[in-house]
């Protein structure tokens, strides 16, 4: 089974190298690293479920594969619309908290 350190490193690498979880599944499935656990990988809903079925050798190969991938292009600035939505959501949450009373 993948070691704890390998699992943590894989989790950090997938955040760096992918934009969504289904990409992680696709990368692993197309690599041929886990052909015998393909169904488990297909049904997995988290990276932890995937690393739980990897051997340490498979985890090592997956790490090498992830390292070789380029980082996807991503921005550093949110759109004004998204900022406004986030601020509005936070204000709404704080207002709800402010209205709490004894039940």
């Amino acid at each position: 089974m993948a070691t704890d350190n390998q699992s943590k490193y894989i989790a950090d690498l997938v955040v760096l190298k992918t934009k969504e979880f289904k990409e992680v599944r696709e990368i692993l499935q197309s690599s041929g690293i886990v052909s015998e656990s393909a169904e488990l990988v297909e049904k997995a809903q988290s990276i932890a479920e995937i690393t739980n079925v990897l051997t340490d050798m498979q985890a090592s190969k997956f790490i090498d594969l992830l390292i070789s991938l380029p980082e996807p292009s991503r921005g550093n600035t949110y759109s004004e619309n998204r900022v406004n939505r986030a601020v509005s959501a936070l204000d709404d949450i704080k207002e709800t908290i402010g209205s709490w009373d004894f039940q």
């Binding site: 809903q45 988290s46 991503r74 986030a86 908290i97």
Partner: protein, 179 residues
């Protein structure tokens, strides 16, 4: 009262706010920074309100708690990474974070009350099928250890704190006081 129930009222809004911030087209460190702000702001608001309600109950309204701890940093890392690592269990982790913040506020209010010679009661109740750790800390306390206020993910134990006003049916005055 079991203050963790109040967090249920903001959970859908929290998950919606996380989804707004967790735009996959934005770099992970930028998402993480903004989620730190979200978790810190909401956590602080929960802490202050729960402390305020407990302080009212215990008749120590003139006091303030020392504040919540800094676990919002770790929460932000988990939440920002979840769009690549999978969202399984994220909602439970967020709920546990908010419930732990409420628990910290309750714990600090109880400690402050004890310093002023008020002795609120703390009742931790296991609900249904419960893990050994929670069964071990269940009980009624007037001088509870810190573990009584702690929770793991998916913990549905009730942690009730009851002070002078709870025992004398005076909690309805809270709304009048804050109107």
């Amino acid at each position: 009262m079991n203050y963790a129930n109040l967090n249920k009222t903001i959970m859908p809004k929290m998950m919606a706010a996380i989804a707004v911030i967790n735009n996959p087209e934005i770099a992970p460190d930028v998402r993480q920074l903004n989620l730190e702000i979200l978790f810190r702001e909401v956590g602080s608001a929960v802490y202050e309100k729960v402390y305020d309600m407990n302080a009212f109950d215990f008749d120590i309204q003139y006091t303030q708690g020392p504040g919540m701890d800094d676990r919002y940093y770790g929460m932000a890392k988990v939440a920002s990474g979840s769009i690549s690592t999978g969202k399984l269990g994220l909602e439970a982790t967020v709920k546990a974070y908010l419930d732990n913040v409420a628990g910290q506020a309750q714990m600090h209010a109880v400690r402050t009350a004890r310093e002023t010679k008020n002795y609120p009661r703390v009742i931790r109740v296991a609900v249904g099928d419960t893990c050994k750790w929670c069964r071990d800390v269940a009980g009624t306390y007037t001088n509870p250890p810190a573990d009584v206020f702690r929770r793991h993910d998916n913990c549905d134990c009730e942690i009730r704190t009851e002070g002078y006003k709870s025992r004398n049916g005076l909690l309805s005055n809270y709304k009048k006081q804050n109107a």
